[in-house]
Symmetry: C2
Subunit: 270 residues, 2 copies
């Protein structure tokens, strides 16, 4: 659990969670347990996705993947332990008897469990896995089309990014309109993140990414550059950012940190 959690990584989700609490005028420290819990969940998902039975990746965050180091069984258990500890942390922290905060904590648990589960991240990974798994006769399924690709990414990557922002806005005490606006902006961030991920998978070198480049194309998975070309993909990512900025501005939520995260997502090189 420690090996994978402490391997570094961008920490995008916890940063987004804390910035969202900020943006609604709430306390960062109230959002910190949710931020940490979400990083535990993200890390577990990477461990399980990297397993030979799924993406079969051997490098992650610049290190050998956990199953390479500790064996597949222990890697599965480390993932299970991280996922469970996330909810343990969410139930425990922040320690409070304030009925309003207790209610927020429970809502955050519901939000994160929904984002991470079968209707969210796990469901997206299942769609992804099914799309590259031959049937019993050895026949490969048809590749995902543009609409199915967007649905898959919306669940696999987008749901937890949205959940991160929403959890931060809830813990920060945002009202319904604020939580809704942050959630919509984060959906745009999530889509932009995935488009840029696909661009970097085409353009990037493995050393910069900390994981194996060119994997998706090699696995026959459709990518945004493949479907739309590199230039149109870059433009789509910028359009996501601009829609997110409009939503945030309209809600008086155009916090410098939140906007900065959006720009980083689109401009990053790894």
């Amino acid at each position: 659990m420690h090996y994978s959690l402490m391997a570094g990584g961008k920490r995008l989700r916890p940063i987004l969670c804390v910035a969202s609490a900020d943006a609604v005028g709430g306390s960062r420290s109230l959002a910190m347990p949710a931020a940490c819990a979400i990083e535990l969940i993200h890390t577990y998902s990477l461990i399980h996705d990297d397993l030979p039975a799924m993406d079969n990746d051997t490098m992650r965050r610049g290190r050998p993947t956990l199953h390479v180091v500790a064996g597949e069984g222990m890697a599965i258990l480390a993932g299970d332990g991280l996922l469970t500890e996330a909810f343990h942390l969410l139930a425990r922290e922040p320690r409070t008897n304030d009925p309003d905060l207790v209610a927020r904590k429970l809502r955050v648990i519901e939000t994160i469990a929904s984002a991470a589960g079968a209707v969210g991240m796990v469901g997206g990974q299942a769609i992804d896995l099914a799309s590259v798994t031959p049937d019993r006769s050895g026949q490969m399924p048809a590749p995902l089309d543009a609409s199915a690709l967007k649905t898959m990414h919306g669940k696999k990557t987008g749901a937890l990014i949205r959940g991160s922002a929403k959890a931060g806005a809830i813990m920060g005490g945002g009202n319904e309109q604020q939580v809704e606006a942050i959630d919509r902006a984060a959906a745009e961030f999530g889509l932009a993140f995935q488009i840029v991920d696909d661009i970097l998978d085409v353009e990037g070198a493995s050393a910069d990414l900390g994981k194996t480049a060119g994997k998706d194309a090699a696995a026959g998975k459709p990518t945004y550059p493949q479907l739309y070309g590199l230039d149109a993909s870059r433009r789509m990512a910028r359009e996501c950012l601009s829609r997110a900025e409009s939503v945030l501005s309209a809600g008086n939520l155009a916090d410098a940190h939140l906007l900065g995260i959006g720009r980083w997502i689109v401009e990053r090189s790894k």
Copy 2:
């Protein structure tokens, strides 16, 4: 998720959860979401434990195991989805704005996450796995001794059984003394359950058990009958039951259902 959850099984943990709410004079329906969530967690743990990278079992609850039917990747994801849905359910149900019930729900999430996680069930499975995994030079570790075996089972099986009873007592509105007494009795139930499991693994036929008999001995795992003999093992299980009955009687919690569960654990033939 549905295939494994609906394969049947004894439903010991949810029954114990609901009976514990009963025993403290609480409402069964308040404990029902926790009872269901715990069965989701138990089912996920069976799916992951049965994987080739762990116990490599092909039969469970009288059916082929999930990875045999759906592939390893999908089995891992189904387990992840069940575990996550358990917390989604615990956060959602029972729907209430009553501050006392909201606080109970949060405490139950903490209790169950602790029981199921790295200090509980997942930790026990990790000890179990490490005890049968050769090191890099191919050398097998020494078998667990009696004390390490008890620790391993206390985490792997006992923790979630205790968590089930405790969650029921909390949702039922039990006071601290009642919750503590139910927890102590359930610890005895859990140990008795494991001892009887070991006895049945020696004596039973695979068809009755719904899983492969004689697996533990074949895998070189120590069992209670192996360490103490069959007669002493049976006596130890009865002694657990009798200690549980004393604790429950002393706390005026000797509810007929709870005591019946204890007797069933010791007398069951599958």
